[in-house]
Amino acid sequence: MKLTLLYFASLADRAGCAAETLDSVARTPRELYAEVAQARGFGFAVEHLRVAVNGAFVSWDAPLAAGDEIVFLPPVSGG
């Protein structure tokens, strides 16, 4: 199914883009991260990231649906 990913901060630098649309068989954010991390060379472990789907935080094992917008969030540093 088609999924859209947005990247921020160091993940965007590493990916070389701010967004991408891809076809994936991943059923959860955990599976999707494993796939994308390998392809993009992301070094963060899942424990150091949070994940949002369609603008809201979700658990790593939440079900994904076609058309979802997924964001893997590196540790934040605002303020």
Binding site: L6, F8, A9, S10, L11, D13, R14, G41, F42, G43, F44, A45, H48, A52, G55, A56, F57, V71, L73, P74, P75, V76, S77, G78, G79
Partner: protein, 160 residues
């Protein structure tokens, strides 16, 4: 009475946002009146400024990047939560995004309360939660020409 009804309609038409991301410099003087309340006897605020050094390195400027959709809802949730957790009358926060120079105001938190203790406590709690939860990232540009995204412990990213 007609005048009051008019005011109420006006407020309903423009829902109040307590947390804002701003691409423009923060005007504290323009934000502070939102905290006005006849029962409030105290106002506490926090200003976060861009400093010229971090972790032993000379900093020239920085960029803030936000995942705006989620930063807005998470920031709003923090301020709503503060109004429940603390005996305060109103609370606001504005966080800059984009390119900032040394000395620029990066984040402002304002709280009004009946008494100073609650205002101070809530203000401290809000800035701590904003730093911990809101998806905003800081990219420091160093005097030596390098740059790096900060991920916690305020150190440049090693995770990628």
């Amino acid at each position: 009475m007609n005048g009051e009804a008019g005011d109420a309609r006006g407020q309903a038409a423009m829902p109040m946002k307590r947390f804002q991301l701003s691409e423009e410099p923060i005007d504290v003087g323009a934000e502070r009146p939102a905290l006005d309340h006849a029962a409030a006897g105290a106002y506490a605020s926090f200003e976060g400024w861009v400093r010229d050094h971090n972790d032993g390195r000379a900093v020239q400027r920085l960029d803030y990047q936000a995942y705006a959709a989620l930063a807005s809802t998470e920031g709003e949730a923090i301020l709503d939560e503060a109004l429940v957790r603390f005996r305060v009358r109103e609370a606001r926060c504005v966080h800059r995004v984009g390119r900032l120079a040394i000395g620029d105001l990066a984040v402002w938190v304002g709280v009004s309360a009946d008494h100073r203790g609650d205002a101070f406590e809530a203000c401290r709690w809000i800035i701590d939660e904003v730093k911990r939860r809101v998806p905003i990232w800081k990219n420091e540009h160093y005097v030596d020409g390098e740059s790096g995204w900060l991920h916690p412990d305020n150190r440049p990213a090693e995770g990628v």
